[in-house]
Symmetry: C2
Subunit: 96 residues, 2 copies
DNA sequence: ATAATATATGAATAGTTGCTCATATATTCA
DNA sequence: TGAATATATGAGCAACTATTCATATATTAT
């Protein structure tokens, strides 16, 4: 298969976004529905700052989407590609 | 969704393996069939050493498989999860 | 046996990443 | 308005990554 340089670059950015334990745990939490930063941070034992930094990257890669409500920002998975990639990856590591 | 720490760790290793442009280009090449290190290196404009280093990581994550024949080592994709992850990822970055 | 070829590996280094800490912005409440 | 709450962001630093270069191992050819 042939892949152009810019596509390979985009693709590597996507997988990079999924290449960190904490980001994956954020995504796992969001699979059950939207959550604000604070709840994510609490659920993961991370600081809100660290979570916010990570969400920025995930947002930038269109893996999560933000919805502001009052002073909270609720995050959800952006589209179903995300959970499909997640579960397909999980398949691989489980029946490895 | 709940994910255990060790599973998140394994999953992040998998996606890390896919998070580099050159590794993705190696995988793309191998989608058409097996190739020895030298051919991969030539096709990608990388040194054989760099390719060999990368293949080591891909092998370790069970993304590629090696078959030795004479003094060459032919590499193939290990299983179909690999190309499925690759194409699912491409879907995401294309209709982004 | 010696040379040539194909691949692998270790050390060193330059570049990248993810965290913390301090601070900024935005919204609600008193 | 001023204090409190929720999130975002920039700088700085420690840890990790991918390459290069030198060298090692393995196989084939002369």
């Amino acid at each position: 298969m042939k892949i152009t340089e810019p596509k390979a670059a985009k693709l590597s950015e996507l997988f990079s976004a999924l290449s960190d334990t904490n980001r994956l745990r954020i995504i796992a939490q969001l699979m059950d529905g939207e959550l604000p930063v604070r709840a994510l941070a609490k659920g993961l034992g991370m600081t809100e700052s660290a979570v916010s930094h990570q969400l920025r990257g995930l947002r930038h890669m269109h893996l999560v989407r933000a919805r502001k409500s009052g002073r909270q920002v609720f995050y959800t998975l952006d589209d179903d590609h995300v959970s499909r990639l997640f579960t397909l990856g999980l398949d691989h590591v489980q029946h490895g």
